[in-house]
Symmetry: C2
Subunit: 127 residues, 2 copies
C-alpha cells in the first residue's frame, strides 16, 4: 500500500513536462449522481482550494474553479459537479509543491465531498 | 430530426444563467481510445477554435485550449485528448452568438477528429 506522498510522486514522475501545464480536477458524474452524493461548493471555494494554494506556495501560479450547471443534452446534469485547474510551470514544479502536502490535501477532500476526484495533466495550448 | 441550430437553441434554453459561465468542450476518453481515433491538435488550434471565435464575435469574450498529456493513474492516458473553455457573459449571449453558426461549427468538427465531443455549462467561481 503506497502512501499518498508516494502516489503523488509516482503520479508526477510519469508525466511529461510542457512549457506550462494544468491539472483539471473534475468530478465524475457517475459518482455525482449516486444516491447520497454531496459536494460542498462553499467549502471547496473558501477552504479546500485556498488550502491547496497555501501549501503549494509559489509552485501554484494560479488556479480556477468552475461549478457545473448543466449538460448538453436536454434535462441532463453537468458531467462534473465542480472542476479546478491548477497552473504550474512544469510537472516537476507541481511535484515539488504538491508532493509534500499530498496526504493533507487528499484527506481534506472528505470535508466537501464523498465523490472520487478524477485528474489529468494537460498542456496549456491557448491560455 | 432536429437541425443543429434547433439543437443549439434547445441546449442553451435549458440552462440557467450565471454572472459568467464557461463551456468546457472536453472529449470522452472512451472515444479517444477507440481504434482509429484521431484528433488533429494543430487544426483545432489554428483553424477550428479561431473559426468559433470569428463566428461568435464579441459574444465569445475569450477561450482557452488544453491538450491532455496523461491521466492520474500510472500508465494511463489523459481522460480528455483536448479541452476548450468558451467564456461568455451569460447563456443568452452564448446562444445568440453560437446558435446561428452551430451547423457550420459542428460540421467543422469532422475536420479534426472522429470523436464525439462532450459539453457542459459551468459557472466560473474563481477565474
Amino acid at each position: 500500500m503506497k502512501s499518498q506522498s508516494e502516489k503523488s510522486k509516482q503520479f508526477a514522475a510519469l508525466h511529461q513536462a510542457g512549457n506550462s501545464f494544468v491539472i483539471p480536477n473534475p468530478w465524475d458524474i457517475g459518482s455525482a449522481n449516486a444516491p447520497g452524493a454531496r459536494f460542498d461548493h462553499e467549502y471547496y471555494r473558501t477552504t479546500h482550494m485556498p488550502l491547496v494554494k497555501d501549501r503549494m506556495g509559489d509552485s501554484c501560479k494560479s488556479y480556477t474553479i468552475d461549478k457545473g450547471l448543466a449538460g448538453s443534452a436536454p434535462g441532463t446534469p453537468a458531467i462534473y459537479v465542480g472542476m479546478c485547474h491548477i497552473f504550474c510551470d512544469s510537472v516537476e514544479v507541481f511535484q515539488k509543491g504538491f508532493g509534500p502536502h499530498a496526504q493533507e490535501i487528499m484527506c481534506d477532500v472528505r470535508n466537501y465531498t464523498n465523490l472520487t476526484p478524477v485528474m489529468q495533466i494537460s498542456e496549456v495550448i491557448v491560455g
